[in-house]
């Protein structure tokens, strides 16, 4: 769409700008402020320069939780995107099945995150949980509170349960926007099912998939509440993701300086990754 140049459009943006700036600017500046100082409580601060940043960037602990975070997010995207697209492709397109699927599939998205964690905790407990009990009676030695492999498996399964529907809903939206004429044309040309997917459906879903990838990347990279309730980062540090580690440092040990430095590094990583995704995918839209 060709847009007209109109500086008065700023008036329309002011409420949004004010509300977001109110929330973003002061707290972010507080974090920046802490990140350069040492605090001894009761508002005594001492300038530390870039010491915390250097410390964090060289700390084993940060590398470990960052590594875990990247692996987790990578696995999540690898499972949820193909699965979400596959489910959207096989969903009914009309009839009573549509509302039933949409309503049931949206359910996990609207459950508070700590309830999701608690629900999966009691679902996966090896003695009284359905999942844990079933796996154990099938002969697997499953205990997510003691074995790190099981803890990973449970956390990933929980996230797949929780968020795949978002990818499904967005993909379904993209698929529904395709005019029947495209499919008719493909049929006349004798296109295979794969060709239809590759050359018609996938390009048409591009915009919604951008949103899906961005949202899934951001939210899985920032995951906090669900693993906090499910495993608490354990056993040991096995599922100690970035957010969990950060909160432990800030509120548990009250190391505000290092925690603030870590927050900023964390934020910058998310920002950089999203900027790369965003620019790559919006290139054809002529938006960036």
């Amino acid at each position: 769409m060709n847009k007209t140049l109109n500086q008065k459009a700023w008036y329309f943006v002011i409420p949004v700008f004010a509300l977001v700036a109110f929330n973003a600017v002061v707290p972010l500046m507080t974090v920046v402020n802490y990140s350069f100082q040492e605090t001894f409580g009761s508002n005594v601060f001492q300038w530390e320069g870039t010491r915390w940043f250097k410390e964090i960037l060289h700390s084993e602990r940060f590398h470990a939780s960052l590594g875990r975070q990247f692996i987790f997010t990578f696995i999540i995207l690898l499972i949820q995107l193909p699965l979400g697209i596959a489910i959207a492709l096989t969903m009914p397109k009309k009839g009573w099945g549509v509302p039933v699927c949409l309503i049931l599939m949206s359910m996990p998205l609207l459950i508070p995150w700590n309830v999701v964690g608690a629900m999966w905790n009691i679902f996966a407990l090896p003695d009284i949980g359905f999942l844990g009990n079933s796996l154990n009676s099938l002969g697997f030695d499953y205990n997510f509170t003691q074995q790190s492999g099981d803890a990973w498996f449970t956390t990933i399964l929980m996230d797949v349960w929780h968020w795949t529907s978002l990818v499904v809903l967005l993909s379904y939206a993209g698929l529904n926007s395709i005019q029947p004429a495209y499919y008719q044309a493909a049929e006349i040309d004798g296109a295979s099912r794969w060709d239809v997917f590759r050359y018609i459906e996938l390009p048409k879903m591009k915009k919604v998939l951008t949103l899906a990838i961005l949202l899934r990347f951001m939210d899985s990279f920032m995951i906090y509440t669900e693993p906090f309730v499910l495993t608490g980062g354990g056993p040991g540090n096995a599922t100690n993701f970035l957010s969990l580690d950060l909160v432990k440092m800030a509120l548990g040990q009250f190391d505000l300086g290092p925690a603030a430095a870590m927050s900023l590094i964390y934020f910058l990583i998310v920002l950089l990754m999203c900027w790369v995704f965003y620019s790559l995918m919006m290139k054809d839209e002529g938006r960036t």
């Binding site: 949004v16 949409l102 599939m105 934020f267 998310v270």
Partner: protein, 266 residues
């Protein structure tokens, strides 16, 4: 082929429903039964857990609090995002692209980063432990999302609609409220759904910004479970009830979801 096609969503839905069923199953058991007996359905069916929640005001006020700030937040986010999304979809202006990306960056800020400064900031402006504080703080991630979704829907409406309306003598406000908003009603429905969803499920900020008066139900659950040992039955009942508002909202927007998603530009 047809049968296989049905199998994928069906299996997926069964997978989705299993943990929810397990939670419901537990909510109708007493805590002693949960710990001592493993059964696929309640052996000794009881409604005591629900009775406790509906008669104790510290419990049910949690639901009222959560719904209050969620509704506030949805209304604020959508009404602020509407004109902004219109501006982004129709006009070029100084710094528009940068502003758009800056908005999105706030959606990317990990809530864990903001928890402590938010506590200090909202305390210093005397909003600590109020519903409006949570509603405002959730704007941080909901407004960017609302602007993004609405902008997609608005860009799908041809500009000729605006121009025709002006030629017909409509003023801008009259056009915006009488013609434009009804045209993108489905998009607004979807946006409200997403705002409600992200505000309802968020806990970290909501918990950080409240003490007693505005405490969300999700936070009350964590507190109760830690003080009186694991009251698993009660916890399961409270958890089951948090699913209800979401289910109601989905039911109301289900036509919008179908229609809105059919518009295809999210």
């Amino acid at each position: 082929m047809k049968k296989i096609k049905w199998a994928v969503p069906t299996l997926y839905i069964i997978f989705l429903m299993l943990p929810i069923y397990w939670l419901l199953n537990m909510s109708f058991k007493s805590t002693t039964e949960i710990i001592n007996v493993y059964s696929l359905w309640p052996q000794d069916f009881t409604l005591d857990n629900y009775k406790t929640i509906f008669t104790d005001s510290t419990w049910y006020m949690g639901y009222v609090n959560s719904i209050t700030y969620t509704v506030f937040n949805t209304l604020i986010s959508v009404s602020a995002a509407l004109p902004a999304a219109y501006a982004f979809s129709r006009y070029k202006f100084l710094g528009d692209k940068h502003l758009f990306f800056w908005l999105l960056t706030n959606r990317m800020a990990p809530p864990a980063v903001f928890a402590l400064p938010f506590f200090q900031f909202y305390s210093s402006v005397n909003l600590f432990d109020t519903h409006i504080a949570i509603a405002l703080s959730h704007c941080l991630f909901n407004i960017p999302l609302a602007v993004w979704i609405l902008e997609g829907f608005m860009s799908a409406v041809p500009k000729e609609l605006d121009e025709t309306a002006y030629v017909d003598g409509y003023s801008f406000p009259k056009f915006f409220f009488k013609i434009f908003i009804p045209t993108i009603a489905a998009g607004i429905g979807i946006t409200m759904f997403f705002c409600f969803m992200f505000s309802w499920v968020e806990l970290l900020l909501a918990k950080t910004l409240t003490a007693t008066i505005a405490k969300p139900i999700a936070a009350i659950m964590t507190r109760t479970s830690s003080t009186s040992g694991y009251e698993l039955g009660l916890l399961a009942a409270a958890g089951s009830l948090t699913i209800l508002p979401g289910a109601v909202v989905i039911y109301f927007v289900r036509n919008y979801i179908a229609k809105g998603f059919a518009m295809g530009r999210v």
